[in-house]
Amino acid sequence: MALSRRTLLGLAAAVPVSAALTACGGSSGPGKSTGATYWYLNGQPQEGVRSGAVKAFNKAHPDTQIKDTTFQNDAYKTKIKTAIGAGEAPTIIWGWGGGTLRAYAEAGQVEDLTSWFGEHDALKKSLFPSSFGAATVDGKIYAMPCETVQPIILYYNRKVFDQVGAKPPESWDDIMALVPKFKNKGIAPFSLGGQSRWTNMMWLEFLFDRIGGSEVFQAAIEGEKNAWSHPDAIKALTKLQELVEAGGFVKGFSSITADSNADQALLYTGRAAMMLHGAWSYGIQQADGGDFVSSGSLGYMTFPPVEGGKGDLSDTVGNPAQYLSISSKASAEEKKVAKEYFAKGVLQEEEVKQWIGNGSVPIKLGTEKLLAASDNAEFLQFTYDIASKAKVFVQSWDQALSPTAAETLLDNIVKLFQLSISPKEFATNLNAVTNA
């Protein structure tokens, strides 16, 4: 078809329209006029606590307002990355710290808060010391830890244990010995939402630590050559596959997702005897499990030691805290408001009370009395002790690593659990990304 003058005219007319179309997409950026902007996750009960803290701050500081916007978890992960990449980030960036924060820091997108924390030493000392690890990149602090601590805990169903006449495991050998006991009664030894991938990862986090100590993963994250091939790493991977081969995990675990809470349901319905899961699982079982928690049927303990292992038993893994960073692209005034919020708005008395009411432990030190007065006092005290006494609090691997390495890790973990790769192949695949 030959181009006529008319078609050219038509094309020319088309350009302003498409320009207008693209212009529509750009109007959602944060306003630059007053106060600071703050994006965080929605979903109750956490959303209410977050927005409550912002409201209280705005009320107490009528001149410096914070405008908050909420997002769904998965949507937020993509949205915040794109927004930061496009220079449209909010003043206050909510996140998980670790590898993602490192990516922001290395791209110069978030403020260095080291000197600010130097000036606010009392504030720094009022928070769990273990929460600062994931906020620190190359010795500099890029985020303020906030909200709650979420260690990984070994849950078990007391009713099922009584029924079989077994005792909670005190070592890895106990775990292996328990497997046939439960299997013979038609009960899965461990529940696992394997399709979610990070659920499988929690097993490796503990096995690495209990067998080789926290140094093994630390070396991997620091990019040391062949860190994943360390003999203790191979031993941990082998032990894990032994448990899979013995039928330790519920049948069909590869197609169970954690999002649907089917893994939790297996535990409280008594189809599985034990489950390794985050501290947030307590609240879910309380809400969904009928009288499972209130009748005292839910047992919990720390991950047992592995015979001959070097890891310290106080070591734990999980989410040390959630994190707030300040966008480096924000104006000086916006940054000032954000810092004011960090100092006088985050984890104030009311917010702390609300977190505890939800069955979680805020990362503020000295809340023992409040925890003890709660309905869930026993569990809260247990979580608090793990978090505050942990010699090393390893951040969840997928958060600690860069997004690229995390994806390779999760992919290979699934294959490891399916026995489709050997521990050595796992190590080789992982060495290739963390030592890049």
Partner: protein
């Protein structure tokens, strides 16, 4: 195409036709061509989606082309395409021919068959995922041994489930196309065949099937090109798993781009997807274009 334009058409005064195409053209350029150019450009860069975009030449291409994940994803995509075509086409033709009959009960059944077409892929995937749950699904709930398998947890089974659900969703649509096609076949052909003593089966293979040639090509093009972009269904059903047993190209692209923050390699896969899609569409057009006079549809 301009070769067949007759003199009568050439003399017709230039109408406002190009103007009528403008809205479509704007949408096509704005939402297809421009992003396509963007993706092509991005495939020669390294970008994590946050920092600055660095032009790195062929690095991303080399990375993707040497990655064993690519041939695997291509193979899975091809398998999904071929198997789902082989399952859907015969069933759709039979159903379409059946529904083309004028009987009232067939019209009622036709409406029932359309139900899957009205559901979104996400809803279908969620429903099947719940039904096939190894512990709380249909098999476990009704205690039917044959149904309580680890449907989505074993590579072969999971692949079969994906094909089944895809077919369940799309067979109604293709049946509809074939129904229309069969109804356009001139009655006179069947009458003539009947006079010659041809039975139903013979009529089907000697008249219906050959007359449906163009319908088959249209429907196959939709199936084949459509299967390249299966994403939502597989993402919710298996997330590409177990392992990478159902990780098709589109899913691989998403995982690399948005989960692993590798926009360069993800763009490379996007370009490959476009090329494969275009190639297949062209191939299918060619297959159909050879002997344009073969169909005897009335009015064609």
């Amino acid at each position: 195409m301009s070769a067949v334009t007759g003199p009568a058409q050439r003399r017709r005064p230039r109408s406002a036709l190009p103007w009528l195409a403008t809205p479509a053209l704007v949408l096509f350029v704005g939402f297809a061509v421009v992003p396509l150019i963007g993706v092509f450009a991005l495939s020669f860069t390294t970008w994590d989606g946050i920092g600055s975009i660095r032009a790195t030449g062929l690095t991303s291409w080399r990375k993707v082309l040497t990655d064993p994940g690519l041939p695997h994803a291509l193979w899975v995509t091809f398998l999904v395409m071929a198997v789902s075509w082989a399952v859907q086409t015969p069933l759709s033709i039979l159903l379409g021919t059946f529904l083309a009959g004028r009987q009232r009960y067939r019209a009622v059944l036709g409406v029932v068959y359309l139900i899957p077409l009205m559901l979104s892929s996400a809803a279908i995937a969620l429903a099947y995922k719940a039904l096939l749950d190894p512990n709380f699904g249909l098999g476990a709930g009704l205690d039917i041994q044959a149904l309580s398998r680890d449907w989505l947890g074993r590579p072969g089974l999971a692949f079969g489930v994906v094909i089944f659900v895809v077919s369940w969703q799309f067979i109604p649509f293709h049946s509809l196309i074939y129904q229309g096609g069969v109804q356009q076949i001139p009655k006179s052909l069947y009458e003539a065949a009947q006079l010659d003593g041809a039975g139903r089966v013979r009529q089907f293979f000697s008249i219906t099937l050959p007359q449906l040639k163009y319908t088959i090509i249209t429907s196959s093009t939709l199936m084949v090109v459509g299967s390249l972009t299966f994403f939502d269904l597989i993402f919710i059903l298996t997330e590409g798993g177990p392992g990478d047993a159902t990780r098709v190209l589109a899913l691989d692209m998403y995982k690399r781009g948005f989960q692993a923050s590798l926009m360069g390699p993800a763009s490379v896969i996007a370009v490959i997807l476009v090329l494969v899609g275009l190639g297949l569409a062209l191939l299918l057009r060619r297959l159909g274009g050879r002997d344009a006079g073969a169909s005897q549809l009335e009015g064609a």
